[in-house]
């Protein structure tokens, strides 16, 4: 529960107008820092909801698949340039961002990840690798502005940032595959 409180503090911090303004003023920070941090705040707060509504999660997310699909859909939605543009120009969309990312992406991710079978995790990783690679390609390659609120150079920056994230996930996946994970299991010392 301590983590849930940290999550709430993080959420409130991110919602402070000067913080939100600063983070949204740089395209890549908006997309690849503010949004993941909102998800992280939901992820941390997830424990609170799991304890408060155990039956709900049991009933609707028993194997983790619905939750992870919701997570994927919500996060992918926010990768669409127009969604980001509207978050800046329309107040209601900004509010929706602050509700959807923690509650509809962070919380389900918390509930689903441990329930997912390894094939589900692999599919999720591969999906995000592909998504970030394609995004990188589009954002770097596009000759015109895809966001009204950000300059072309910022857009290319997001492209390179997405490639960097994809590279990090690929490296993480490779070390999962090539290092025997049972090495890290705790062994009781007698």
């Amino acid at each position: 529960m301590k983590l849930a409180k940290y999550g709430l503090v993080l959420y409130l911090f991110l919602a402070l107008p000067p913080v939100a303004n600063l983070l949204e003023s740089i395209m890549i920070v908006h997309m690849h820092m503010q949004m993941p941090l909102l998800i992280a705040s939901g992820f941390l707060m997830g424990r609170f909801f799991q304890l408060k509504f155990p039956r709900f999660f049991e009933k609707w997310n028993s194997n983790g698949v619905p939750g992870i699909i919701l997570f994927i859909i919500v996060w992918s939605y926010w990768m669409i340039p127009r969604a980001m543009d509207e978050a800046i120009t329309i107040q209601a969309v900004e509010i929706f961002k602050f509700i959807s990312l923690p509650l509809l992406a962070g919380v389900p991710l918390r509930d689903s990840w441990k329930k997912l079978a390894s094939v589900g995790k692999d599919i999720t990783f591969v999906y995000f690798i592909l998504m970030f690679l394609i995004m990188g390609w589009i954002y770097i390659g596009s000759e015109s502005q895809v966001c009204n609120n950000y300059l072309l150079v910022e857009q290319k920056t997001v492209g390179f940032g997405s490639l960097a994230i994809a590279a990090c996930i690929i490296i993480y996946l490779l070390q999962l595959i090539f290092i025997d994970q049972s090495e890290f299991d705790e062994v009781q010392k007698d």
């Binding site: 600063l22 003023s25 740089i26 890549i28 920070v29 690849h32 820092m33 150079v153 290319k156 920056t157 390179f160 940032g161 960097a164 994230i165 590279a167 990090c168 490296i171 993480y172 070390q175 999962l176 290092i179 049972s182 090495e183 890290f184 299991d185 705790e186 062994v187 010392k189």
Partner: protein, 559 residues
Amino acid sequence: MEQSLKETIRQDPKKILGVNPLDAKVSLSYLTVAFVSLLIGGILGLVQGLERAGLIDLPSWLNYYQVLTAHGLLLLLVFTATFSIGYLYANLSHALGGLLPKVRKFAWVGFVLMIIGVAMAVTMIVLNEASVLYTFYPPLAAHPIFYIGLVFVVLGIWACCAGVFINYRHWRKNHPGQVTPLLAYFTMAVFVLWFFATIGVTIEVFTLIPWSMGLVETTNVMVGRTLFWWFGHTLVNIWYLVAISAWYVFVPKIIGGRHFSDKLIRLVVILVVVLNIPGGFHHQIIDPAISQSIKFLHVFMSLSIAVPSLMTAFAMFAVFERTGRKLGGKGLLGWLKKLPWGDVRFLAPMIAMISFIFGGAGGIVNTSNQLNQVIHNTMWVVGHFHITVGVSVVLTFFGICYWLIPYLAKRKLTPKMNKLGIIQTVIWTVGMIIMSGSMHIVGLLGDPRRTSDTTYGGHEAAAGWIPFEMLFAVGATLLLIGVIIQVYAVFNMMFFAPKGLTEYPVAEPEDDATPAPMWTERWGLWIVLLLAVVAMAYVVPIVDMILNAPPGSPPIRTW
């Protein structure tokens, strides 16, 4: 019950057999190079101090910037790198029960490559073809051979990295469910940092080679500087991590205590590894081409390194108090008196730790945008790194020598040598207080760094700096005396001290300590986090610098 001899040999061969002689040779070779370069670098330091104070005039074949470049390169790069590699390989050998034969080969290959590289770079400096200062970023251009020499140095470091990673993997595979010994853990962390730090500088140097040869006309100065500081600042934290490995693991044993907490120590190591590379930006806080908001975000990243530092400070003083009280210290500060101040193995690292309080405070000044405007490129900065590297790191290294070298050479630390060590430590400390203190003050008065002559035609503001510059010379003289004593002590302990057995003072955990959790061993994860943090920090400014690049700079030779 006592273990039988056979069992002890099987389970813990080092207790009886000492370090493997072949491994000791590796470490001693690195340490020899380290202290030879300390001697040369130290002499150059004094020459520079005297020239700056106007007490000597350098002959026409040797100029101030040449001396400054060699002093920086030999001490900041060669001395610290070779010392830490020698020390860490000894730790690795001790902690894992000997190096694998192929790992030893890697260490020797690294040694040879580094020697070749340093010889090439230093030759170019001596020929006055590479007075680019130790930061060697563009637009100052050195002779291509200087850069090629640096490539060899990096290759040597990579060979050492490969050796450590191989030995670590080998041990992990054969010890499922066990955490690696603390010393091996530190070694792994330092070499992970070495590897990722040198990637930045390698890219930089590879762009500079064709540029200095004239094959390409211009280079992007901002990208070069950024890549340099990616490396430069990480190097700072490599020294820091090497120093705290001694503080955490050896100092508690020397004062007769236990180490603080395995878990906390490993957490500090992980935080330093993951967080430190973006700190490089605070060296560029005055640079154009990085937007204000990016600099602001970087303040967080730079200052985040204060978290593990404060954890270290807390843990170390907790160990001191706990041990002092156990030894009978009474009252609020009585435990301080119980610490072994007469033991150079303790005194040197202790002064190093105390100086880090001042060094750290100065570092916060350097990182803060507004304060940095006052001190940027003044002597303050020089004072700052002489107190951080020159005391916090180097005195720790000196303290390590007094047990590591006799141990490796199978000799003893005599009381006489201990006394000499104490004298050396005191001379060094006084010299550094005088020199670094006056540098800090005169920096605040505006005296620029990296400038051979600062009389400005006798202007009265510049005249006010002269007494402080005299103090640099006084401090530098004391420091050179310190260097000579230290080099004498090192080679005496290596070749002439009486034969005998010296302890490898590794502290044990407290009896009721909980073992470190296995997740701390997930290097794959820590490296991915490191890369993610690097990406967060560097993608925006570097893309900006490349896409909005100015025309670029041709090679410039100012000397």
